[in-house]
């Protein structure tokens, strides 16, 4: 009796053998224990590989891309869809390509050491360097201390801790419609806020950030509270042009641990795309610093958003 042929067995299990050969393999599997064992193992491998590949399709709730509409439902002829797709693709790519390494690198790599709140107030929307902060930017309240000061006075606490009035700096937000002027303000502030996200160098404590009523803010503007930066997708889009960001997105109903890292892959029009999921301009995201990365980002599709406890890392994407 021949030795078991793995390739043959897999072809048989895949239903790819002609009838006569399939019958022969079947007979061998029934008569010879060695063949039977090889068939059993091959069945296991077929099932295992399918399961492993299916794991690549895991997409958490709330971030699943909308299913493609069936082409037959469209009124437009087929070539318009293809042309539109090409235009969108090229346009989107050009927008992304506008973030060149030259413009990104300084933002990502600069060790910006001012609190976020201070950044928003004091830093002009340019590449963030300590020298770029005007002298008058320093304010008397403790939150205005520089990071170096904070680090000296509170060893072990991080950049954002110095700026945070409380480690319980989670935020309840009521989302509202946004005017064009407010959006412009947001975008400008987002430009400054992103400076604070450039490569923090100190490790912050891992205490979870909890929501408190006193930290409730309105969401019309890009807001910086205790190192938490937030705003609508439109505003954060401005940030994204400065530095590619990896967002961790939480669906409304899921527990914080269900967060998923979403890489910002494209910005176009009123939409930014996180992996496969488009995030519209009216949707809100919050970024929470945690050590050398950013955590606790949530994007909702409802009226109310809440910054969740520090549940995931917001990683600075490698510069393309």
């Amino acid at each position: 009796m021949p030795r078991p042929d793995e390739g043959l067995i897999h072809a048989w299990l895949d239903g790819q053998l002609p009838p006569d050969e399939a019958a022969r393999v079947e007979q061998l599997a029934a008569a010879d224990p060695e063949w039977a064992a090889a068939v059993a193992e091959a069945r296991g491998l077929v099932a295992a590989s399918s399961r492993i590949l299916a794991a690549l399709d895991q997409v958490p709730a709330g971030v699943i891309p909308r299913p493609m509409a069936a082409p037959s439902r469209r009124v437009l002829p087929w070539w318009t869809k293809v042309a539109a797709a090409v235009v969108v693709m090229v346009g989107g790519s050009m927008l992304v390509l506008r973030v060149t390494p030259d413009t990104v690198a300084p933002v990502v790599r600069t060790e910006q050491k001012l609190p976020v709140a201070e950044q928003v107030k004091a830093t002009p929307p340019v590449a963030p360097t300590p020298a770029a902060v005007p002298p008058h930017a320093t304010k008397p309240e403790p939150a205005a201390r520089t990071v170096q000061d904070a680090a000296r006075s509170a060893p072990g606490t991080g950049v954002m801790t110095a700026a945070a009035p409380s480690r319980d700096a989670a935020i309840a937000v009521e989302a509202k419609d946004v005017t064009g002027a407010e959006r412009a303000v947001r975008e400008r502030e987002a430009t400054t806020a992103v400076a604070a996200k450039g490569a923090p160098t100190q490790e912050a404590p891992s205490t979870p950030l909890l929501p408190t009523a006193k930290n409730t803010v309105q969401a019309q503007r890009v807001t910086s509270v205790g190192g938490v930066v937030g705003g609508t997708a439109t505003a954060l889009r401005a940030e994204a042009r400065q530095a590619p960001i990896c967002y961790r997105v939480l669906p409304d109903s899921a527990p914080p641990a269900a967060a998923v890292v979403m890489r910002l892959v494209r910005v176009y029009g009123d939409t930014m795309r996180l992996e496969g999921a488009p995030v519209k301009s009216t949707e809100t995201a919050w970024l929470v610093p945690h050590g050398a990365s950013w955590r606790g980002v949530m994007i909702t599709r409802g009226d109310t958003v809440r910054v969740t406890p520090a549940t995931g890392t917001l990683t600075i994407c490698p510069t393309p």
Binding site: I52, L53, P71, P320
Partner: protein, 172 residues
């Protein structure tokens, strides 16, 4: 329904799934799929449309993969994600994410031909179609698949074992 519409309706989903699994990047997969259909438009006739589409998509991936920038970036993101995940208490969602990361690493570690054969088979291509896409003999597809499946399972298991070991070290 025109031919191209039928083609799109029939193959867009499996093609994007194949590309997404292969690349680990849905947007990139969508782009490659769009380009594949654009190229299909230029063809007067397709003899074996499924294998043609998957072959063109595979070639486009190969061409782009030469630059390799996005893949490297993706792997770096995965690495950062895995590092972060190690510090968190696992739950079901996290476990799924780790499974996905392990699966990605295992798949990426396969030889290109094995990887392609697996993914094409998962999309329902039969052996002659897979042979056509890969440019190999039909008779060797079974062997290729058996090797690829075994290797994938072994690599995936190894990833899980290594992760468990890291977890034990961290706990002790």
């Amino acid at each position: 329904m025109s031919d191209i519409e039928r083609l799109f309706a029939t193959y867009h989903l499996p093609l994007v799934r194949y590309l997404t699994r292969r690349l680990g990047d849905r947007d990139w997969a969508e782009e490659i799929a769009q380009e594949t259909f654009v190229r299909a438009l230029r063809q007067e006739a397709l003899v074996n449309e499924r294998s043609w589409l998957f072959a063109v998509a595979s070639n486009l991936v190969r061409d782009e993969a030469r630059k390799d920038i996005r893949r490297r970036r993706h792997l770096e993101v995965l690495a950062a994600e895995a590092r972060d995940a190690q510090a968190e208490a696992p739950d079901v969602a996290l476990e799924r994410a780790l499974d996905a990361a392990d699966a990605r690493r295992a798949l990426d570690a396969l030889a290109e031909r094995d990887r392609q054969a697996l993914l094409l088979r998962e999309e329902g291509l039969d052996y002659p179609e897979i042979a056509e896409v890969l440019g190999i003999a039909v008779g060797s597809v079974g062997t290729t698949l058996s090797r690829a499946r075994r290797r994938l399972a072994e690599l995936f298991e190894a990833q899980g074992a290594a992760r468990a070991q890291r977890g034990n070290h961290a706990a002790s």
